[in-house]
Symmetry: C2
Subunit: 198 residues, 2 copies
Amino acid sequence: MSGPTAIVEAPSPKKAPAPLNGVNTPGLFATIDVVKNQPQLAAFQFRAKGDWLNGTHVQTVMSDFSGAGGEHSHKAAYTANADHPLVLCGDDRGPTPVEYLLHALAACLTAGIANIAAARGITLHSVTSSLEGDIDLRGILGLSKDVRNGFSGMRVAFTVKGDAPDAKLQEIVQQACARSAVLDSLRNGVPISIQANV
Amino acid sequence: MSGPTAIVEAPSPKKAPAPLNGVNTPGLFATIDVVKNQPQLAAFQFRAKGDWLNGTHVQTVMSDFSGAGGEHSHKAAYTANADHPLVLCGDDRGPTPVEYLLHALAACLTAGIANIAAARGITLHSVTSSLEGDIDLRGILGLSKDVRNGFSGMRVAFTVKGDAPDAKLQEIVQQACARSAVLDSLRNGVPISIQANV
């Protein structure tokens, strides 16, 4: 996927190394250049459609979104299932909703690590992560007003292997954190409006 | 699934209606009673293991968690895939990480609606939701320091049909919001620590 041709085709050869780690680095740099000149292309809207199936079993479809000045569809209409576990009287037909927050965080930070490593010309061998989230269910069970409903804390531990000195790999993880949509959303909160049509 | 036997077996017959909407309501009330007397059982820890596959494609496994004084495994080790879309130079092998935030929110609120409706003896016919999240990618692309990385806002629109007056159905949605782990986490933020082993 790499080679002189790809480098020549990239708009800024010095800034855009060849594809690496499966990342289309020239395309990524070209995208950044385009958005720099047309900032309105950066406005994206992501969407999901949820459906209650039975008990606490819910299925969501994620199929289309807008951005870069147009409408887009995923290659497939992706579905995800969630449920409460047996110990909380659910049927355990999928991960719990809160586990998807851990997944979203792992996925966002790891994708960032891959993109940033490629942009810096560093070959990655592996990136694994272990995530934990603590929650005191007295909040959602209505047993204490002093206990919040959500996670009291989340922890992420990455193990990153690649062809670079340890300090460079550490910097890549730091930069992924500095540019993560999910980390910012989860750390700093998002205004959320909810309406019910009955 | 309902009937006099189930009601008699429940610890607080007046508080615990029969199973409804696929929700094991007596079990849920019994669980709340047990946790009320042993609050340490409310401490849960959810976990995920992330693996970078290629490019921005990441797979997460959610298999075990602790809570109610012990270790638990899901019926299966659930996996979820995430990727960046083609328009952002990914291979689109799954939803984007941020779409999973929408899914987590839909799933948590909908499960709450189902549980609360069952606890109030209200039969639900359908619960669907439509979610949107707005994001200006100049943040994560490093093109503006004034633009946040995460969602600037999220919107949820529920359509709830059930055997109850409109006001009762509205109250159920409000109560689900008041007791949602994901809504609280996303609205109010979570302390997150990140470490990298290289």
